[in-house]
């Protein structure tokens, strides 16, 4: 039993890191401005295509291309914030949900027309790592390391740099932050950009080991919701832990029941946690 369980657990946990980084983007945006970004999925998909297009056209190493994709994600997020979100930032939730969803429709619409929905695949491997009974592709390990690196840098940015401190101040109390002279509009745009940057990076990492289409982001967006609720909405580190929990769950469940039951379990758990503890398993605020 354990010779099946252990490899699939490791597999699930490594994937969990990537889920975590995707969810972190959603969580960051929620934490700073109480906006649920429904364009999260398509941005993950754009990250996938970013890596794909750079790699197939220039042959650049996907991990170096990730920097380009991250920067593009940051800029795209700031543009989305400026165009679609800023005007309704203080409106009821329905407005921001619909505004970000309309961005989702625009990206998917243009993406489907330009990129079609044929599955793509990046022809890139790093071989596999074998430790005892466990064999995992190096690309998964690299993705986990990249996630940890990005998380570390994000926290360094949030706690050490001045704009990062501004972000935390705005998240804490926007009005007070404005009174202290913090340019809140710019900081909100930056936060939104960081959130979409994380989504684009997650997409790029996923593209190194799974085939994808422009619609692939949707399932990761739904997983990100589940993870955010597991880890507490608005808590980026909680999102990483939530990702690991979900990844572990996905790794272990198939040993006990058919794989098709995994989503039932995931979404059942999601609704249950929302009901019992809406602040999340790791959330501190009640």
């Amino acid at each position: 039993m354990s010779d099946i369980l252990l490899p699939s657990l490791v597999d699930g946990l490594l994937l969990g890191f990537v889920y975590g980084i995707a969810a972190m983007g959603l969580s960051l945006i929620w934490g700073v401005m109480d906006v649920i970004n429904l364009s999260h999925g398509p941005i993950i998909a754009l990250g996938m295509f970013g890596i794909y297009l750079i790699f197939t056209n220039t042959g650049l190493n996907p991990y170096l291309a990730l920097f380009v994709v991250a920067l593009a994600g940051l800029l795209l997020g700031m543009i989305i914030y400026g165009v679609a979100v800023h005007r309704v930032i203080d409106a009821p939730h329905l407005s921001t949900l619909l505004a970000t969803f309309s961005v989702n429709m625009i990206i998917i619409g243009i993406g489907t027309a330009l990129l079609t929905t044929t599955p793509r695949n990046i022809d890139f491997t790093l071989g596999s790592l074998s430790v005892g009974p466990i064999t995992v592709p190096w690309t998964r390990v690299a993705a986990a390391f990249a996630t940890m690196l990005v998380t570390g840098l994000l926290y360094l940015f949030l706690y050490v740099s001045r704009p990062g401190k501004y972000i935390r101040a705005v998240a804490n109390n926007r009005v007070a932050a404005e009174l202290m002279g913090i340019p809140s509009a710019r900081i909100l745009a930056l936060s939104f950009g960081l959130g979409t940057m994380l989504a684009a990076i997650a997409g790029g990492l996923i593209a190194t080991f799974f085939p994808f289409t422009i619609l692939s982001g949707g399932s990761y967006e739904l997983k990100s919701f589940v993870i955010c609720v597991l880890g507490g909405l608005g808590n980026p580190l909680g999102a990483l832990f939530g990702g690991l929990i979900l990844g572990g769950l996905e790794g272990l469940t198939p040993a006990f029941m058919p794989t098709t039951w995994v989503p039932v379990l995931e979404f059942g758990l999601f609704v249950l946690i929302l009901l019992v503890r809406p602040s999340g398993l790791l959330g501190s605020k009640s």
Binding site: V88, L97, A99, G109, A113, W261, P263, F267
Partner: protein
């Protein structure tokens, strides 16, 4: 029954009835299909409006009631051999029951948490049905063609379903109007504006919200049965399509949420626009992007929707546009 003499109600009903009568005059099956889609959207949007527009709770996964009702109805029709009428009622009943159960729990959540929970409920239901063998699992169920013989053959059955759809749509509009002009409806509107204040003023919010939820779930359940009866088969992917759910919200917003006429105009307008974009050579491929751009403009600049905007700008129309 002074409420029944209001011109606003009759305007909404007359517009729907006139549009619904159009295929009967032309006698063409393709016109009927177009009109069916529009009526379906009008009815779905109007029933969602009872929760979204009057009560202010954003149900992102409202399609779960349509899917579940459809499944229940098709199961009864094909496996248990009950009549279409009973199946439609059963579809509505199961959707209402689910809403009643959910209402006691997830309606405690507010704002975005409620919206997220409804997405979760829809996805959980879809995943569950995917594994539920009595309902055919991932393959779904297909109606035996001979079933249509009970209703005078397939061609007549489709016209009959269309007639029922038209009647149901008119009923939804009437209910939507009656709710809005009742004491119950005023309680809902108060909850929308400020739930805590509404409770202090004597509105039993949990109860009122739950009944609004149930009411807005029953009709999608019935409509699901009609649609999938006409369609001939049902699959989890078609029944619980989150996208359709969000389109319902878009229609309500387009026309004006919280108004009776708004969802009618919004749904009809949205479907007509989509139809036109789909056949236009330039926009065919990017119709989703165009619809998204339109939604963004509405959300940013006309948040009250078409009817809300007209009521605000032209005070005379307030008597006519409910």
């Amino acid at each position: 029954m002074r409420a029944l003499r209001s011109p606003g109600l009759w305007l909404a009903l007359a517009l729907t009835a006139a549009a619904g009568a159009w295929p009967y005059f032309t006698g063409s099956a393709s016109n009927r299909e177009v009109a069916f889609t529009i009526l379906l959207s009008v009815a779905l949007a109007s029933s969602l409006n009872i929760l979204l527009g009057y009560t202010g709770y954003v149900s992102f996964g409202h399609i779960v009631f349509y899917g579940l009702g459809g499944y229940m109805g098709i199961y009864l029709l094909s496996e248990r051999g009950v009549s279409l009428w009973l199946a439609v009622l059963a579809g509505g009943a199961i959707a209402g029951l689910l809403a009643l159960l959910l209402g006691a729990s997830i309606l405690r959540l507010r704002g975005a948490y409620f919206a997220l929970a409804t997405i979760g409920v829809n996805e959980a239901a879809r995943a569950f049905i995917n594994n539920f063998q009595p309902f055919g699992g991932p393959i779904g169920m297909t109606l035996n063609f001979r079933l249509y013989d009970h209703y005078g053959g397939a061609a007549r059955a489709l016209w009959m379903v269309y007639g029922v759809m038209l009647g149901l749509t008119l009923l939804v509009i009437l209910v939507s109007y009656l709710v809005k002009n009742s004491k119950f409806g005023l309680g809902l509107l108060a909850i929308r504006e400020n739930e805590d204040a509404a409770e202090i003023m004597g509105v039993t919010a949990p109860q009122a919200k739950t009944w609004a939820y149930v009411l807005s779930a029953i009709f999608p359940g019935m409509i699901g049965v009609l649609f999938f009866f006409k369609n001939g088969n049902i699959e989890p992917h078609d029944a619980f399509r989150l996208h359709l759910s969000i389109e319902m919200i878009v229609m309500v917003m387009l026309g004006g949420y919280g108004t009776v006429l708004g969802p009618v105009l919004g749904a009809a307008g949205y479907q007509r626009l989509r139809g036109m974009l789909l056949v236009s050579p330039i926009f065919k491929n990017i119709q989703l992007a165009v619809a998204g751009g339109l939604l963004l403009i509405i959300v940013l600049f006309v948040p009250a929707g078409a009817v809300g905007w007209l009521r605000h700008r032209v005070p005379v129309l307030r008597k006519v546009l409910e």
